[in-house]
Symmetry: D2
Subunit: 207 residues, 4 copies
Amino acid sequence: MTANGSGSLSALMLNCTLHPSPADSSTEVLGQQVLDALAEHGVSGSQVRVVDHDVRPGVELDMGEGDEWPAIRQRIVESDILVLATPTWMGQHSSVAQRVFERLDAELSETDDEGRLLTFGKVAVVVVVGNEDGAHHISAVAFQCLNDVGFTIPANGVTYWNGEAMHTVDYKDLEETPKETASATATLAGNAAHLARVLRRDGYPAV
Amino acid sequence: MTANGSGSLSALMLNCTLHPSPADSSTEVLGQQVLDALAEHGVSGSQVRVVDHDVRPGVELDMGEGDEWPAIRQRIVESDILVLATPTWMGQHSSVAQRVFERLDAELSETDDEGRLLTFGKVAVVVVVGNEDGAHHISAVAFQCLNDVGFTIPANGVTYWNGEAMHTVDYKDLEETPKETASATATLAGNAAHLARVLRRDGYPAV
Amino acid sequence: MTANGSGSLSALMLNCTLHPSPADSSTEVLGQQVLDALAEHGVSGSQVRVVDHDVRPGVELDMGEGDEWPAIRQRIVESDILVLATPTWMGQHSSVAQRVFERLDAELSETDDEGRLLTFGKVAVVVVVGNEDGAHHISAVAFQCLNDVGFTIPANGVTYWNGEAMHTVDYKDLEETPKETASATATLAGNAAHLARVLRRDGYPAV
Amino acid sequence: MTANGSGSLSALMLNCTLHPSPADSSTEVLGQQVLDALAEHGVSGSQVRVVDHDVRPGVELDMGEGDEWPAIRQRIVESDILVLATPTWMGQHSSVAQRVFERLDAELSETDDEGRLLTFGKVAVVVVVGNEDGAHHISAVAFQCLNDVGFTIPANGVTYWNGEAMHTVDYKDLEETPKETASATATLAGNAAHLARVLRRDGYPAV
């Protein structure tokens, strides 16, 4: 699961919104801002709206005929940076994000000749949006799940926006990007690109 | 969403395993033990394996044609006690359980003539199983989600089993039910039945 | 740990702010609003600012000379409703609140002649304030800890306020109480008073 | 808060047990195993049992006369790797660990000439022990708190041990180190040492 050893870095954003395309998605708005910020550091980006695909329940690499996870996984394999973007529902990451974590569980059995998980050398960052609170908790859960399966978390590896308690405004409907969120996005992008670059050059040792 | 005012109490267990029927399910084993314990207190029980149904992503009561949540919701409406049973994956409740919480979010808009959520008067309890740790965290999340949408949590409202760190034994394969889990199940059942009974007789006041 | 069987109900609010008296405390402001709302339902209230007392680290009922937890515990014993009020730091409940949970752990060994925890029959509710997000996660943790040691959680058993992401406004400095928080406080109070009343009359069965 | 740019790497383990010295501490046992494993990678180690010191409640760098946090902080400043070791109480990190996170909150205001937090360039790893479940949740919370204040989390940045559900065995009383935990400790140490080394040579860019 290592990206190619030369050339420019690439990032894949998994948008874990509950809304199938072509509906608007606040999660996509902030996720795209992260991809744009990464581009300023020479990282090419692309995205998948996971709910548009039939990702089967289970914890195997491939859950059989019709399962669309293997194709998404292949794109993770080919990327240096994973941007896990999720909305906040009931204060939690979405069921779509949890499905992604469950499917990534299979990576715990995938190692290279040196005994290293195939995700070693890849960097993960987290994006959280929501009308209401949840970003700290959700980034905690995401960091743990992604780190458990082998991703490295750069300093300040999350950007987020939550509205005031019990309010209903959506991030996509804000008149402008809050400067605090923009600042967090910029820091995250610089750190993620840097860390992915040094890990590509100096990978983790054999286990 | 109130159950009938007289007659015996009923409980619905939602099994949030990732495995579709007819696969064995550790979650079902402990969930059924809870239903059996509730039966000793005069509570009739039934269950739904949620993954066998097409529960669409979203936060509306009905996500449209083909959505099987409305039928499951109707069974919740007709029950006095909800038993939310989930496996542990990546230390979290399953994506199927999170899907249930997301769909229950719609209950926040459903009130009776007195301004009370339709879930007021219903009791919720939690069942967690897993090879590895997670029960405390998962019961926390479940209590919060279920309480936010109006369920009452009886004293000691969870029963669970997790194996030792990084072990792989399944609850369904244990030679016998651990006495600690059996004890927690018995206490939960007695308390849930009692609380559902007193809340049926003395419902919460108007909001 | 059962309150007296007759007379009016009483509530104890544990303010788990990090700021010793006489500093202002946002947590106290919302906690007092809960006590005021409970008073409208005939519940008398009092409070303890825990950080003003030397609550020793440990998980015993009494950690020895100088430990001020036993006196606080006695006030919990004499109350029908526990109001656990905490600020949000790093997205988590405060170290003072965690200290309270650790000391309550000792209740798991305290049972009456019927095998019931002494907290059975008591109701717990949660108050969370913070500049930034955390309320859902913190109420989850608090519900779990309080329920594990025997408290019952009434429907909608939390009231809270968090500001917008990465903002720094304090609840105590808001010009007026947000109507959403006021509404949550009112519902919580009505439900907690009702549930404490019915549990006093109809306690949980023997274990 | 950057360690010196040359010479060998150093690690500081903060033992967040509730038990003051000289009591035995399971957290220390596993924390020391991490320091020993780091030593095999050329990292010198030392530790602080935080509960032995008067770390005042608050979120400032220095809470005034008698506050022993500034001296502990100085040792963090001089280290390349922070090993945050905590027991599991009520399924949560200890109140002592939460106190550490609260005091680290002050780092959000401390930046160098390039606008970088002083923790940028430092690596953090997590150690969790407990009779009962909690390690996944606790490592999630710790990763989030430590990453928010600027630490980088290496791949597989946690080692842990929890016993089976509702059991009471302590890690310090196990006859031998479980091989799964030993394996996690070894991987963590190799990855943390490597990442600290590359970040010392190639620090994050200016913000």
